[in-house]
């Protein structure tokens, strides 16, 4: 199975590198939003609450723009039947999950410094900030991957994915925003509980999605 996961992952990265559709969409959106917010607020120091909220809104909508593509592309290009015949369902899910997690981590790595730079954010607890961003991204990817599979089978686009994702991502956003606020403020504990919660949440969602994936993906 490890071999199947690796091959599928390589294929997905190659296809994405060739077309650069999802990465362009997510990065352009996130970049545009960051610059727009920076322009609108130019010079004004925003509170930690508003800054965290803006950062996670950007991440959330970038995810909504880009993370469903990995499954929708397979259905659109008619390759999913071939993929199913060649690769086991579990390997499909795991490779897509890893792909989405890496893809979103790359988006976050690019956008976060840009955001910090344009909005002149002062990060007091860098370790907590990085941990929260990373684990929040993992949680969003874990939830979005499974939902993307559902949306691709529903033939839906854009808004259906966002409608389905938002309620399930509210705990993630709540915790991530709280953790990010903690890293912007001067506090004794810096709020390490939130990254741990996000990590646990991603693990739980990934495990449940893994068990349910075959019911969504395979045609009966």
């Amino acid at each position: 199975m490890a071999g199947e996961i690796y091959r599928n992952l390589l294929k997905d990265f190659r296809v994405e590198l060739r077309s650069r559709f999802a990465v362009n969409l997510s990065l352009s959106f996130a970049g545009t939003m960051t610059v727009t917010i920076g322009l609108v607020t130019s010079g004004v120091t925003l509170s930690p609450q508003i800054t965290s909220l803006l950062l996670w809104m950007i991440f959330f909508f970038s995810a909504m723009n880009g993370l469903s593509h990995i499954f929708v592309r397979e259905v659109d290009q008619g390759t999913f039947m071939f993929m199913n015949s060649k690769i086991g369902t579990d390997a499909v899910f795991l490779s897509k999950l890893i792909y989405n997690s890496v893809f979103f981590a790359i988006i976050q790595v690019i956008i976060t410094p840009v955001f910090v730079f344009f909005l002149q954010v002062e990060v007091k607890c860098a370790a907590v900030f990085v941990a929260t961003v990373f684990t929040g991204g993992l949680a969003i990817s874990a939830t979005s991957t499974f939902l993307a599979a559902m949306v691709s089978r529903a033939g839906g686009r854009g808004s259906l994915f966002t409608i389905m994702s938002f309620p399930l991502l509210v705990p993630v956003l709540w915790s991530a925003i709280s953790g990010t606020i903690g890293s912007f403020e001067v506090r004794a504990d810096c709020g390490w509980g939130n990254p741990f919660f996000l990590l646990a949440f991603s693990g739980m969602i990934a495990a449940i999605s893994f068990l349910l994936f075959r019911h969504v993906w395979i045609e009966e």
């Binding site: 939830t143 499974f146 939902l147 559902m150 089978r153 529903a154 033939g155 839906g156 259906l160 409608i163 389905m164 938002f166 309620p167 399930l168 509210v170 705990p171 709540w174 739980m204 969602i205 449940i208 999605s209 349910l212 019911h215 969504v216 045609e219 009966e220």
Partner: protein
């Protein structure tokens, strides 16, 4: 089994009489506190319907021998009832919030949790309409419900207890006590029982109608 749910024909009017005449008004809120006998059971029943839908979905998805195909309908019907109950709970809760705290909506953690549940139901119905009522559609929407069921306890049970809330102390609190007078406690218990029975009764009726529809479709297909 349906006979036991018919007890609601007696229990509900009894509850209404108790709520208006027998139970006293609360100390500060007075008669306005009687809304507790409608709001709390509606909220409880909506969460119950959600868990029933999620459990039925699990039963449907992991039914290898296809013996429980009707569970998809059970889960859908439970969601329909749950949606109505959630709207009920939200409106009565807002009215009570205005009376107690001076504004209809305060983004209190418990208020937020009910809106979150409403969003989950709405997303489920959006997905269901996009998928249609075929076998595959039922499987996918059931999978969504199972995933949603896993995240709900966090919002409905954990968050209101972690973050400070305007809401009256939840029934399950650190002191493990119900901070109500005896008469109010009994009336609330009756009210909870009535709404639970009513929910199950309506669910059973809707399931029977779904089963009839399925049988008629099968008969038509056979011809």
């Amino acid at each position: 089994m349906i006979n036991i749910f018919r007890i609601v024909y007696i229990l509900m009017p009894l509850t209404v009489v108790m709520a208006f005449l027998w139970a006293p008004g609360a100390e500060i809120l007075g008669d306005t506190s009687r809304i507790i006998y409608f709001h709390v059971p509606a909220a409880w029943a909506s969460v119950l319907s959600f868990f029933v839908a999620g459990s039925a979905s699990i039963g449907y998805l992991f039914d290898e021998k296809n013996k429980r195909a009707r569970l998809a309908d059970v889960s859908h019907n439970s969601c329909v009832i749950g949606m109505v109950l959630i709207v009920l709970a939200t409106v009565t809760g807002s009215i009570w919030a205005k009376m107690s705290w001076g504004s209809f909506w305060n983004w209190d953690p418990r208020e937020t949790s009910i809106i979150f549940l409403l969003l989950v139901y709405s997303a489920y119905f959006s997905l269901r309409s996009a998928l249609g009522r075929k076998e595959r559609g039922s499987r996918i929407s059931s999978a969504y419900l199972v995933l949603a069921m896993v995240t709900v306890p966090f919002f409905v049970f954990m968050v209101p207890r972690i973050y400070p809330s305007l809401h009256p102390a939840p029934l399950i609190n650190p002191e493990k006590k119900l901070f109500l007078e005896d008469k109010m406690r009994i009336t609330l218990a009756f009210s909870l029982a009535s709404f639970t029975l009513l929910y199950f009764y309506i669910l059973v009726l809707m399931n029977r109608i779904s089963a009839i529809e399925a049988r008629m479709v099968n008969k038509r297909n056979e011809k």
